[in-house]
């Protein structure tokens, strides 16, 4: 009994990981001169259940800080739209009423794009899974009955979501959506857009592992991103170079609901179980939104279907680490090498 209650509690907690708004965010900013007339300005802020960092290389720290500040403002605005846990958010209104006329264009746009991924993935990516997730939370002991699950699945299916301009409709009563698997990427891209509008072209944005890069870092070298090892043993099984692109990772190694570590936060709604082939999936794509959505999609599809799926998408590649630690990569994944240990600086 205690165990099932624990599962329910963790599920409830998990629901709040994705997109909570931080009431009193503090911004930590540092500016470091890294060369003649060149400054690395980095700012970090808790948001979206994680720490969001923006690092820029710019000739003027003031310009960079101004751009980052504007970008964080935009981030806050968008988080307020996409958070399911804010009662006054647009998505909450949509979920409550089953339709939303005059939706913020960003919400309608992301829903529309999520439907494209739903189609592309033949249903593997489905934002209408929210009722199933909510069911896990609401069920006594964290284990819904078969009947409850069947009922929940009746209202799942992104084909029942329609977007027409700024109007979003659900086909059936009881439908709800979550955009946590795509909106964070969208917001990262929005941050990048603000930086570019302020002519801060060299930057790296990291929202808890959803990363978007533009331009280059000091020395005109591409940014280097490491892939977290699922075992979190301090090593990185691979690194990649990114100049203009994005990478995101979905993994089963962050949150487990059970002590046997079999059920994690990516749940197959048809079985009530988690896909068990992949330990983590990292996807590179031209945009963070694409990388965000596709990493989840490939995780659900598994290596056999997921790798060909990604290989069919231009500008996209993937690295899968399975539960035995084996790596599988799409043909175009450009590895920059593993990092097996920390190298201490000369301090």
């Amino acid at each position: 009994m205690h165990r099932t209650q624990d599962i329910a509690r963790k599920l409830a907690a998990l629901q709040h990981l994705g997109f909570e708004r931080v009431a009193d965010p503090g911004v930590a900013t540092e500016s470091t001169r890294v060369g003649r007339g060149s400054h690395m300005v980095t700012a970090r802020r808790p948001s979206m259940g994680t720490l969001v960092s923006v690092s820029t290389l710019a000739p003027s720290p003031a310009r960079a800080e101004e751009a980052i500040g504007r970008a964080f403002e935009e981030m806050d605005r968008l988080v307020a739209i996409f958070s399911r846990y804010e009662h006054d958010s647009a998505i909450s209104a949509l979920n409550e009423h089953g339709r939303l006329d005059g939706s913020p264009p960003e919400l309608a746009g992301v829903v529309e794009r999520s439907l494209v991924y739903h189609t592309l993935s033949r249903g593997a990516f489905d934002v209408s899974i929210a009722p199933v997730l909510d069911l896990f939370v609401a069920s006594p002991g964290g284990t819904p009955t078969a009947g409850e699950m069947r009922d929940a699945l009746e209202v799942v299916g992104a084909s029942g979501v329609a977007v027409d301009g700024r109007r979003v409709n659900f086909a059936r009563p009881g439908m709800r959506i979550t955009l946590d698997g795509i909106a964070k990427g969208f917001i990262v891209d929005a941050i990048a857009d603000v930086l570019r509008r302020h002519k801060v072209h060299d930057h790296l944005i990291n929202a808890g592992g959803d990363i978007r890069t533009s331009g280059r870092k000091q020395g005109r070298r591409p940014w280097t991103v490491a892939v977290q090892h699922p075992a979190k043993d301090g090593s990185y099984p691979d690194t990649i170079h990114l100049s203009d692109g994005a990478v995101a990772t979905s993994g089963m190694y962050e949150h487990y609901f059970d002590r046997d570590q079999l059920i994690h936060h990516i749940v197959d709604g048809t079985t009530g179980q988690s896909p068990d082939e992949c330990a983590s999936v990292s996807v590179t794509a031209p945009t963070a939104m694409a990388a965000d959505a596709l990493s989840t999609t490939v995780f659900v599809l598994g290596p056999t279907a997921g790798i060909p799926f990604v290989e069919g998408l231009p500008g996209c590649e993937c690295l899968i680490i399975d539960r035995e630690g084996r790596q599988r990569r799409s043909r175009g994944w450009k590895s920059a090498g593993a990092v097996t240990g920390g190298e201490e600086g000369e301090v």
Binding site: L14, L51, E112, S159, D180, G209, I266
Partner: protein
């Protein structure tokens, strides 16, 4: 973050999706609109639906069509002008530390260059030479060298004219050797000087440099005694020279991140900080090599002793292992407690403590030294409601690190940084109960030591994310902390501003260390009188 799930029974064939049931489902027109309005996604869809088995060539073609390239898309703006003036640099004390500092200023000894070149050929993982050559050219010239040991002075002169230099700079004229530091400072050959001698000389050399208007980079500990610290402070503070104490931790990324953690109040009220030193080798206990050419003919012993309180006959151990005697330094206080304290002061800005009690003994290295090899000091900061404990042994290697203990979490800082929630935290009580925060694991980690990695991609983690911060050393480039510290000093000399470890921070550190030394030697609790600026 909530991910999606798969539902094979509802997986739609592409042609099944649009227009199946009127306005409730995504229409074909809506789909096309979506594709048209989303260039990347539209391209994905087009490619996937029509040619699922697209090869790499096709993908590249589409990428080009979309204007997405894998190469650089941005040309940085023009580089500003280089530092306008070449700084003429002198070095006093070209021992191990002095040679290291000069190398990080861009002047490696030719033997070191050759050793590293051979080492890199045998082991590509050795990047020391690469890092050296990638350093920023600080636009300095080593014009003067002072050392009482002929061999080391000659090495300094050789380093000053090395032709393998960062930025491709050619060889400079050889530095001039001065036997006495006063001659070097008065020569007019130097704008700035690095002092890397034993501690007992720091005060006289620094105050003399101030008198000559020469900027000073002085290795820690600032001085050997409290009185000397006051003299240095009183000389430097009102002067126009730029002073930097040699604390490379000031440039540590982990320390900088630790300040972020403190600023965000992630730890809650911090009541106890523990700094530690654990070493278990003779080298770590200052049993350093005695140079085979060291003898009364090559070493000016009288000049070495100088202001040392006890004069003794020529002694190679004392010359090469000077940290083992109070005549020349302050043992663990000045050498290693100073590092820990500087980290604490950098992160918390605690200043000089109210009181100190220290104890310890010489329990293991009974080789004639008179400084303890086990040493503990307890500092009180009642105004901050904080205790700082320093605990050290040179006879055990159990690494304990530097820990900041708050009501809500503990932060450990070393080369990396971790924050672990406290199981009885008030702030995280709900999240701990909900399982969001696992108190058996760090909820925040930062590892700056992974060379060249700017970020880590990972599924979203716990509340505060364990990584996800940039792993840049400086702009993604590994740069030595020494180099940064010297570079900062030179930058302030040229452009004004404040060094990160200026005379105020140096004085705070020196007094803090001397409080521990006094307490240990006198076997009593000592306090700081801020009005009289005295340890009492």
């Amino acid at each position: 973050m909530t991910d999606e799930h798969t539902k094979p029974k509802k997986q739609a064939q592409p042609e099944d999706v649009p227009g199946a049931s009127g306005g409730w489902e995504t229409s074909r027109r809506g789909m096309l609109k979506a594709l048209v309005s989303l260039p990347f996604v539209g391209a994905f869809a087009y490619n996937y639906l029509r040619k699922r088995a697209a090869d790499d060539t096709k993908k590249r073609a589409i990428l080009e069509e979309l204007g997405v390239t894998e190469g650089p898309a941005f040309i940085p703006e023009a580089i500003s002008k280089p530092p306008s003036e070449r700084v003429r640099l002198g070095i006093i004390g070209f021992g191990g530390e002095g040679e290291s500092l000069i190398r990080h200023a861009g002047f490696a000894h030719p033997d070191w260059v050759e050793e590293q070149r051979k080492s890199a050929a045998e082991n590509p993982a050795n990047k020391a030479l690469e890092v050296y050559l990638s350093q920023e050219d600080l636009n300095v010239a080593i014009t003067a060298v002072c050392d009482v040991f002929d061999v080391r002075a000659d090495r300094g002169i050789a380093a000053s004219q090395v032709d393998v230099r960062p930025g491709g700079g050619g060889a400079n004229p050889p530095a001039k050797r001065y036997r006495h530091y006063a001659d070097l400072l008065q020569s007019g050959d130097v704008d700035a000087v690095i002092i890397a001698t034993p501690d007992h000389w720091h005060s006289l050399m620094t105050t003399a440099a101030v008198a000559e208007g020469v900027h000073v980079y002085c290795e820690k500990c600032l001085t050997r005694t409290e009185e000397e610290a006051r003299a240095v402070y009183d000389a430097v503070k009102p002067s126009d020279i730029v002073f930097q104490l040699g604390h490379q931790n000031r440039q540590s990324e982990a320390h900088n991140k630790a300040r972020d953690v403190i600023d965000a109040n992630i730890l809650g009220p911090i009541t106890l900080v523990e700094g530690t030193t654990n070493r278990n080798t003779p080298w770590g206990a200052w049993v350093w090599d005695i140079h085979e050419q060291g003898n009364p003919q090559t070493i000016d012993w009288d000049l070495f002793q100088g202001p040392a309180p006890n004069k003794v006959p020529f002694n190679l151990e004392r010359f090469f292992r000077w940290r083992c005697w109070y005549d020349y330094g302050t043992g663990l206080s000045g050498d290693l407690l100073s590092h820990e304290y500087d980290g604490v002061n950098q992160i918390l800005q605690v200043g000089i403590p109210k009181s100190c009690v220290a104890s310890g003994g010489l329990y293991y290295f009974k080789d004639g030294r008179d400084v303890p090899d086990v040493f503990q000091a307890v500092y009180e900061y009642p105004d901050r409601e904080l205790t700082f404990v320093y605990s050290a042994t040179l006879a055990n290697g159990n690494y304990r690190g530097l820990a900041f203990m708050g009501h809500d979490a503990t932060m450990r800082v070393s080369g990396s940084l971790t924050v672990t929630a406290d199981s009885d935290s008030t702030r995280y009580k709900k999240k701990i109960e909900d399982g969001v925060i696992d108190t058996s694991r760090a909820m925040f980690t930062y590892r700056p030591g992974f060379k060249g990695i700017d970020a880590v991609t990972s599924a979203t983690e716990e509340y505060f994310v364990s990584r996800g911060l940039l792993y840049t050393y400086r702009g993604g480039r590994r740069v030595s902390a020494y180099h940064l510290l010297i570079g900062e000093w030179l930058d302030v000399i040229r452009n004004g501003g404040e060094t990160s470890c200026n005379i105020d921070r140096a004085f705070e550190e020196a007094i803090t260390c001397h409080m521990a030394t006094r307490s240990f030697k006198e076997g009593r609790k000592v306090t700081w009188d801020p009005t009289r600026r005295r340890i009492v």
